[in-house]
Every structure is written in C-alpha cells, then in structure tokens.
C-alpha cells in the first residue's frame, strides 16, 4: 500500500463517521488547548521575569546590608532613610568589638574602589505626602542619583530622567500619578507636584509621653513643603521583582540632601535610631558585569557586611519555574489522558463496526501490517487535527485571558505584559505530541484490528 492510500483511506473512513470523528477530535482539541495554554503561561511567566532581569541588568546588582539591618525580620524589607548628616557625624561612636563600620559615605567610597564595581548608591527612602491639585497621597520617596535615573534600570513611559542631582525634578510612577488625579501622561510632564515631608518638631515634644506616641498620638511631627516638576513617568513593575527601585517617586540626590525629613519609615526605626547604627541600612552596588559579582561579594563580606545578589537566587528561581511548569503541564496532561481514552474508545468502536470490512480486506490480500497501519493512520489524523486546532484554541483562549488580565491590571497602572509565550517549539511540540498521543492510544485498537480472524469475520449467518 502506498502512503497516499493510507492517508486517503483514513480520511474517507473518518469522514464516514463525521459526528464521532468530530467529537473525538474535539476531545483532543480541548486537551491540547489546555496543555498549550498551561505551558505557554508557564513559559510566559518565565520569559517576563528573565527578560526583566536581563533588561534591567539585575544580575549586575549586589545589595549590601549593614549588620544590624534585618531585611526579613521586623520592619520588613523597607530600609530606613538617610540619616541626618550633621548630627550623625558628631555623635558617631567608635564601633565596638567585631561590629563593622556603619554603612556611611566612607564605606561607599571604599566599595566604589573595589575592582569591577561600576557604581554604588545608598538605598534611601523616606515617607512624604505627594500632592497635585487637590489630590493628596502618602507615599515613599526614593532618592535616586541622576546617573541611575538615566540608566536602563529606569524604564520611562513618558518624559525624560532628570540630568543633574541638584534639580527640583522628579520621576513618578503612572499609578501614583493616577492616584493624585493626573490621568494623562503627556500633559503630566512639566506639572508641579508638592511633596510634604514629615519632620521632627521638638517644640512640644514630651519624652515622658511615650505611651501615647506608640499609639500614634501626639507625635512630635510637623510638615515641610517642597515643590517639584514632573520630568519623567515610569511604569510600575508587573511583578514584585527585586529591582533596586522600590518606590513610586524618585528624586535626585542633591535635592534630597537639602530637604528636611524624617529618616525612618516606621515606628520601630524611630525608636532604634537613637541607640547606634548610623549610616545607611542598605547600599546597592552595580558591578560592570555579572562575572564580577562573586569577587565583589566576597570583598564586601570580608568588610563585615551581609550581601544579597540576585544571580545567586537564579538557580533557585529556575528550579521554581521548572516545578511550576511541571504542575501546569500535569493539569494539561489530565485533559490529554481523557482525550486519549476518547481516541481509544472511538477506534475500538470502529473495529467492532468494521469487523467484516477488516475480514474482507484480509480476504483480498491485506496483511496484518496493512490493517495496523490503516488504524494507526486514522488515530494520527485525529491527533493531527486535534493538535493543530488545539494549538489554535490554546492560542485564542490565552490571548483572551491575556487581554482580560491586562485590562484590569492597566487600571492599576501595570503596563501591558504578555503573560503567555508561544515559542516555536511549543507550537510544533503540541502538534507532534498530539500525534504521538493518538498513536499510543491507537496501539491497542490497531493490534486488535490486525488480529481479527477473517474466517470469523466473513462467516455468513
């Protein structure tokens, strides 16, 4: 028998039982569709994260923590703000015992001189009220040197980054912009924004009144207003990725130093700050390339600081993704198993119906191999169409889901992200897999069909 004859014959046989063939193929379509959607979702997640890492050069960053800063404990990840410089210098005490030097500007200079280090900047953030027109929102302001504002780290949706560390300009996230009542990105550029910092006002501070302070009353706090111009608008990260940018508002460093503000972000910090541990809580190092990460990290640790580098976590992240892929694929596989049982059922039914037809074919000279191949071709045709249309279904459905997710996330200022990814191997693999699954499902029916005894099949009664 020629190849074309097998194809011809299987098409005409399947066409004879249109409804059943369609239903069986539909089962495969759903199975492959589910699998494709699941896997493409897993791959999409992975691609988003790793693209982001690469685009933002996240593997080039090392985070340095002062020994006393506990990033996972009380107070969470949020580092404290900048110390008030004048005071901290004067009251600085000698570090006792093995305590390392506080992370101050001298340490930063030392870090900068390590081979492979491109730049170093302290992670400074402070609370403030951001106001435009009537709307007023409480937010954390991050101090970001101009060179970093202009780097790939900062992705702007509109406007430009500030160029000097002294200007009264800021970069704001689109979500915060929306919350303060500025909806249109383009007209927002150049708008004035008022930032009110909180400052300590000791004029009516009573140290004996700690109890009421803990409850948040009678705090010795006043406000100080500063005016900024919006120069750039950044999109918010789609995921909580550990980028060194962790804020909705960014201002230049020089400007920040001229502002009066509270150097803490929570009450716990407020009480601790007087004891010791002056300097910065967290400092970000950018190395020239990921190859320097380990050497720099070792040097920094020798200086007595704890470090965190994302590149160390990457293997774990990869394992995590592999695990996620497996779970997603397992869900998809359930649908495939059901579909394959459907194929088996259809093909076995087909044998029973075509019992005498098989007998006739054998009587006129078909070998067991011919019969087997006829059945295999039929199941693989089911698989092929199931695979192709399943791929299409998975693509359409995931596209719809993607639009719906993005529609809702866009309202929160998250930029459009493809949550699904269809690499070429997934498309090709889905169709191939569908055919292989159908062939496997077809083994038993094909063997059984080939075993049909023509004498029994042709017995006339």
């Amino acid at each position: 028998m020629k190849l074309i004859d097998y194809v011809d014959l299987s098409f005409s046989n399947l066409w004879k039982r249109k409804l059943r063939t369609f239903l069986t193929i539909f089962g495969v379509i759903i199975g492959i569709g589910a699998l494709v959607a699941m896997v493409s979702f897993g791959k999409g997640m992975q691609k988003n994260v790793s693209d982001q890492f690469e685009n933002l050069e996240l593997f080039n960053y090392i985070t340095v923590f002062s020994e006393s800063f506990n990033p996972l404990g009380f107070g969470g990840r949020s580092p404290r703000g900048q110390r008030q410089r004048g005071r901290s210098r004067d009251s600085q005490e000698e570090v006792k015992g093995s305590e390392p030097k506080p992370l101050d500007d001298e340490v930063i200079a030392a870090l900068r001189s390590i081979k492979g280090v491109e730049s170093v900047f302290p992670d400074i953030r402070f609370p403030a009220e951001v106001r435009a027109n009537e709307e007023q929102v409480f937010s954390l302001i991050q101090v970001l040197p101009a060179e970093f504002a202009q780097s790939t780290l900062m992705s702007l949706r509109a406007g430009k980054a500030y160029v000097s560390d002294e200007e009264d300009s800021l970069i704001i996230s689109d979500s915060l912009l929306r919350r303060i009542g500025l909806k249109d990105l383009d007209t927002a550029i150049g708008q004035k924004v008022r930032i009110s910092t909180l400052i300590l006002d000791f004029s009516n501070f009573n140290p004996m009144n700690l109890a009421s302070m803990i409850q948040g009353e009678n705090l010795p706090i006043a406000k100080e207003d500063y005016e900024f111009t919006i120069v750039g608008i950044t999109g918010r990260m789609g995921f909580g990725s550990p980028t060194p940018l962790r804020s909705d508002v960014f201002i230049p460093r020089g400007t920040s130093e001229r502002m009066k503000k509270l150097p803490f972000t929570n009450m716990w910090d407020f009480f601790r700050r007087t004891e010791q541990n002056l300097g910065y809580s967290v400092v970000n190092i950018k190395v020239e390339s990921p190859a320097f990460v380990n050497a720099v990290k070792t040097k920094v640790q020798e200086m007595g600081y704890r470090t965190f580098a994302l590149i160390d976590q990457f293997e774990e992240i990869r394992t995590g993704f592999l695990f996620m892929d497996m779970i997603l694929a397992a869900v998809g596989m359930i649908a495939i198993v059901v579909a394959s049982l459907g194929i088996m059922n259809t093909m076995v039914m087909s044998i029973l119906e075509r019992y005498s037809e098989i007998g006739i074919m054998k009587a006129v000279g078909a070998g067991d191999g011919d019969i087997k191949k006829i059945f295999f071709f039929e199941s693989s045709v089911i698989g092929f169409f199931g695979g192709v249309f399943g791929l299409a279904l998975g693509w359409v459905v995931s596209g719809l889901i993607n639009r719906i997710i993005n529609y809702f996330l866009a309202k929160q200022g998250v930029p459009f992200i493809d949550y699904f990814n269809f690499p070429w191997w997934l498309c090709l693999g889905a169709v191939l897999f569908a055919v292989v699954v159908s062939l496997v499902s077809g083994i038993y029916p094909a063997v059984r069909a080939a075993r049909v005894d023509p004498v029994v099949a042709l017995r006339h009664d």
Binding site: I360, K362, G365, D368, V455
Partner: protein, 232 residues
Amino acid sequence: MTKAPIIQAQKLTKVYSSGKIEVTALKDVDLAVGKGTFIGVAGSSGSGKSTLMNLLGGLDSPTSGSIEFEGELISRKDKNELARYRRHDVGMIFQSFNLIPFFSAVENVSLPLLFAGVSKKERREQASVFLDRVGLSSRKEHRPSELSGGEQQRVAIARALVNSPKIILADEPTGNLDSQTSSEIVGLLATINREQGLTVIMVSHEEALLKEHCDEIIRLFDGEVKVKEQLK
C-alpha cells in the same frame, strides 16, 4: 485427469476447538485440482465445504495435512506470506458478496489492487476494465445497496479477477440469488474458466448448475470426501 494439478491437498484435517468440545470440520481430505479445470464442491451444511475453501484460500491454516499451490507448501506459510498468496494468487467469491458498503462498485473492485500497491489512477482503470467484463459498465459508481443481488455478485467476481489470480474460489456464490440470476452467475464463472483457462473451485447446492458446468464434483460428508465424480 490429464492436466497438471495447480493446487493439491493431502490428508487435510481441520479441528476447531471451543473450550473442551472439539469439532472435526475436515478429516484427511485428499484433493488434486488440475490447472484450468472447473471443480464443484457439494455437501450438506456443516459438511466442511466452507472450511475447505478457507484453507485453500489461505484464510485459515490446517490442523494437519498439507496444501501445495504450484509446488509451494501453503500450509507452512506464515501470516504475511499467506496475505501475499491471497493478494496475488487467489480470488475469492462469497455467498454474501462481502462488498464494503461505503465503497462504490469501482472502489470495491479496486480494493485488492490497493494492497498490491497499485496507484489510484491505475486501480480505477483496471477495476473499470473488469467491471466492463462482468457487464456492469453502467453501474460503476453505484454502491452495493443500490445494486441487485446479481449485480453485487458480479462486482465481487470482478474484484476476484482484478488481481489476475491463478485460481478462483467461490463459496456458494448463488446461495443468496434466485435461480435465474444463479445460472447467469455460474455461467459467467464458466465463461471465465473456459475463455481464460482460469481454475475455478465452486461450492454449490444446486446440482443442476454443478452438473451443467463442472469438470468434476467432490462430495463431502461430515468432513470427508466420499465421492469424486468425473464429469468431463
């Protein structure tokens, strides 16, 4: 019998066993069919006629004994060799026609060529030629359900002939036909036998038809050959 045998059987025995019960369908049948002869096989139902035809046609294997076709041992062949034998050397005709209902006449006739690896175009051409030969030129695209019994059997005969076999095995080809059509069908087989020198072995109940056309009649009783009548 002067002609050299095309097919011969020696001590052919077939025992069917279902569970503990054993049924001997054929017992020590000796047979020699000369090339180009028309052999009739008669016997009451259950006498082993169909079993004999299935064994000769390579659809089944004997329990013991041997079948030789043109000097080759059919009874020793494996499944694939048997399929090959059926494909190239034998044409079979059945009482219930055994046409594939979804296929048109021409498709049914071309079925053996499909397994012989003949191209589609050539299959149709050849099938068409044989349908002309059995007198169905105008019914080529009809399905079996649209044909009369006699026409269906003609399609089956065309199918048996299309591979240019060396022997035709007809198992009660007239069993489902009226007497008028029956004599036409057997007449057609006799013509083919006479004109092409094709060997025909036909099982039939109809004494008149057997006596009219056959060179020899073999009578089976309970799986054994009781009488061989030489007619011509």
